[in-house]
Subunit: 170 residues, 2 copies
Amino acid sequence: MDISQVIKQRRSIRSYREIELEDSKLNRVLEAARLAPSANNRQEWKFIAVKDKLLREKLAEAASRQYFIAQAPVVIAACATESQSVMRCGQPRYTVDISIAVSFMLLQAAELGLGTCWIGAFDEARVKEILKVPDGIRVVAITPLGYPAEEPGPRPRKDFDQIVCFDVYK
Amino acid sequence: MDISQVIKQRRSIRSYREIELEDSKLNRVLEAARLAPSANNRQEWKFIAVKDKLLREKLAEAASRQYFIAQAPVVIAACATESQSVMRCGQPRYTVDISIAVSFMLLQAAELGLGTCWIGAFDEARVKEILKVPDGIRVVAITPLGYPAEEPGPRPRKDFDQIVCFDVYK
């Protein structure tokens, strides 16, 4: 499938089949993160693939009780191992780097027929406690990963002309 | 080309052929951003595609004098039209949303044989001045977009086991 097809078809999946995910597929998704670019190629990241059911349930609880998260056979927590640097443009480097890596995983997963859902609504302190994440490490995003149990309808998007302009801001 | 191939082959491109980019290709890249997910599907973004040569030269100047940026026939500036919201996990929503959209563009561009280079080293105030970006709008990232004039070598990555762990942080 080419990338534009994957991008067109990808949806955030909020219902998962409770069946195992093959390690080969999980590894391909994690590999997409490994190969993502990062500022100065620093790769200051760590990806926790949570398979343990009890831990997944605790994560769902900590993520505003979005219980569908625990339905998925794997939950990935994307962590930044360095979080002090700010880019010259003013953006935190770690937030950007981890977001790129997770974006790559979303698309790789979609191509493999797997669902994901970017979760930003979670209690970071509680997630760190559950996953024994050391002080100084930030958890930037989590996503369930597994086989979709739903085919969500189309998500409306703004028109091209509304979000694109040329040469100067309009 | 499948996504894992694109991800494997993609490199940050720092040298561009000074030839025009077809609008059909530019539009496909921008379309990848349009279809990207965002928190609550808010799509609080605007993408400025800069073709004007003088403006591109000014942008390169404002981006720590990385003059290769202006070689590319198009420079895309990715802007957030809302930048106050913070997700429950503590991350700024706009930084994440724009990073996802730009990530999707990087991969779509790579599939089309086009080069990009995520630029975070720029003077945001100066870029806003050049592109007439209103107060309250943030410029999160810029990237040149065009045909590569180089085939950069492989970029080393950490080993899989160094950046992946299971169930809890290790």
